[in-house]
Subunit: 131 residues, 2 copies
DNA sequence: TACTTTTCCATGCAGATGCATCTAATGCAA
DNA sequence: TTGCATTAGATGCATCTGCATGGAAAAGTA
């Protein structure tokens, strides 16, 4: 892969990431009171099929440091969207589980999330109401 | 484009961005005392062919808000890598130009930047010394 | 058992970011 | 010219992030 292709590819990633996360952050926040990472965490827990997750596991899934994830989960817990509890097996550990309210909020925000992706990834076909 | 493809594509962008920017940030910082965005700004000014740039112009190029870019340029100026000056034409405006030291630092950091991209975008062909 | 090392999560701290706002300079219109 | 809306960039503020560290529990070792 040539150097220019590499740089080009990286800049595409940068541009896509900047545009998408900016819009996602705004829409999710305004319409559902969720940050992008917060939505991402809820989604992983809904999709995972399991009930309990470890903090580090969540952190890896959403590409956050362990400390950032710890605080993010604290925010979600404060909002009533997840709960934390002690691991019985490993008492250093903490498990996180999504609450019914968390599931509801995720379900509510999901269409917004998908609509933003659809719009940003294919600007031509605007199915949502145009300005 | 199906909803799953959209989500999949977005997650790929998230993953690529997280991995790459994490490594870039660390390598550029440790080896050249530059943040990723700082390198990006220098590079745009070197590549641009012009001498003077407006703050907003730089902000757009590197996907930063105007305020973040203003501070970033202030840091670069403090480090002697760019200079700021008053626009003659529009005296609200400010122009930014890269200094010789800035060019030197960019030239020095560029191979690191490219090496990281090469490694992250094609993990198979490790041309740099493996661990 | 007693001691050391490692692992898990929380937290203090410093740095970067975006939003809202402020000041100064333009531009436009009456 | 005067007055109002707009634009450029700087800055206060709140928030989020990662690094380094802390305490507690587990795992490994003698």
């Amino acid at each position: 892969m040539s150097e220019e292709s590499l740089v080009g590819a990286w800049r595409e990633v940068l541009a896509k990431h900047a545009t998408t996360s900016c819009v996602l952050e705004r829409e999710l926040s305004e319409r559902h009171g969720l940050g992008m990472s917060e939505f991402e965490v809820l989604e992983r827990m809904v999709e995972g099929g399991r009930e309990k997750y470890r903090v580090q596991e969540v952190a890896d899934a959403v590409h956050l440091s362990q400390s950032a994830c710890s605080r993010l989960i604290a925010r979600l817990e404060k909002a009533g969207l997840v709960r934390r509890g002690m691991c019985e097996a490993d008492r250093r550990g903490v498990f996180v589980l999504i609450t019914d309210e968390g599931r509801a909020r995720h379900a509510e925000a999901r269409p917004t999330h998908r609509a933003v992706l659809a719009e940003v990834f294919s600007p031509a076909e605007r199915l949502t109401s145009p300005a």
